[in-house]
């Protein structure tokens, strides 16, 4: 079984909408991906905030 505490690989590309992948340096991007953009269409002036959103991160466990 792979060591789940090991670092991420950077070569995995998620297929599902809403996934966020680790970047080339193995860091998890903090900026919302394209699936989060729908939340940004809310009228901030009217609603004051966006809604709760789900983010899925996928990666490969380093062997």
């Amino acid at each position: 079984m792979a060591d789940s505490t090991a670092g991420f690989s950077s070569d995995y590309v998620g297929e599902n909408k809403g996934t966020t992948n680790v970047n080339a340096t193995g860091e998890i991007p903090q900026v919302a991906d394209e699936a989060d953009s729908s939340a940004m269409t809310i009228d901030i002036a009217k609603y004051g905030s966006t809604k709760a959103r789900r983010v899925v991160i996928k990666g490969i466990v380093a062997q």
Binding site: S4, F8, Y47, G48, K51, V55, V56, K58, I60
Partner: protein, 188 residues
């Protein structure tokens, strides 16, 4: 109108409102692939008792380390704050593909909600200099977050802290909600 404190303190306090808090739904590892799902809540309210938070901070971060870690918390209890306009429409969790029960703002259900007569919710209005629209805390959606994560996040995502008495009122209503007893329906 809710009384709030705008001064940020380094430790997490009961009544703090913090922006963009992540809740880890799951983290699974299978065949060398790992998948982590999290929900990002735009605003959460800190429910954990302040004396527990104060002791955790004192014994974890200060020089007053002591001989044990008896006072350290494992997590901090929070509940999401939802925009009241979204709640009326039942669409506050639409990004999670969850349809909630609409609440008619102009009739009794909306009035009960704003008067804090529904045990599940706590309605809050903020001063004009606080960038939060009228919102409700949903006690049913409470969850826990890592202590160190929340302390670190508070540095840049702190919005305000609900003042004393108001936060005690919320704690009282939350504890009452958790302690409710669901009785079985009478059989015909």
């Amino acid at each position: 109108m809710t009384k709030v404190v705008k001064t940020r303190t380094s430790r997490v306090r009961q009544g703090d409102i913090i922006r963009d808090v992540e809740y880890i739904e799951y983290a699974v590892e299978k065949s060398g692939q790992i998948e982590i799902a999290k929900i990002v809540f735009p605003l959460v309210y800190v429910l954990t008792q302040d004396c527990d938070l104060e002791q955790d901070y004192r014994f974890r971060w200060s020089q007053e380390t002591g001989l044990t870690q008896d006072k350290w918390l494992l997590s901090i209890l929070v509940a999401p704050l939802y925009n009241i306009e979204h709640v009326y429409a039942g669409e506050h969790l639409s990004e999670l593909h969850m349809q909630m029960e609409p609440i008619n703002r102009r009739r009794s259900p909306g009035m009960y909600l704003r008067n804090n007569e529904r045990p599940r919710f706590h309605y809050l209005e903020f001063p004009t200099d606080i960038p939060i629209v009228p919102s409700v805390i949903d006690f049913k959606h409470y969850f826990s977050v890592n202590v160190q994560y929340l302390k670190q996040l508070k540095k840049k995502n702190f919005v305000c802290s609900v003042g004393e008495l108001f936060r005690e009122n919320i704690a009282n209503r939350f504890s009452g909600y958790l302690a409710r007893v669901g009785l079985p329906e009478p059989t015909p």
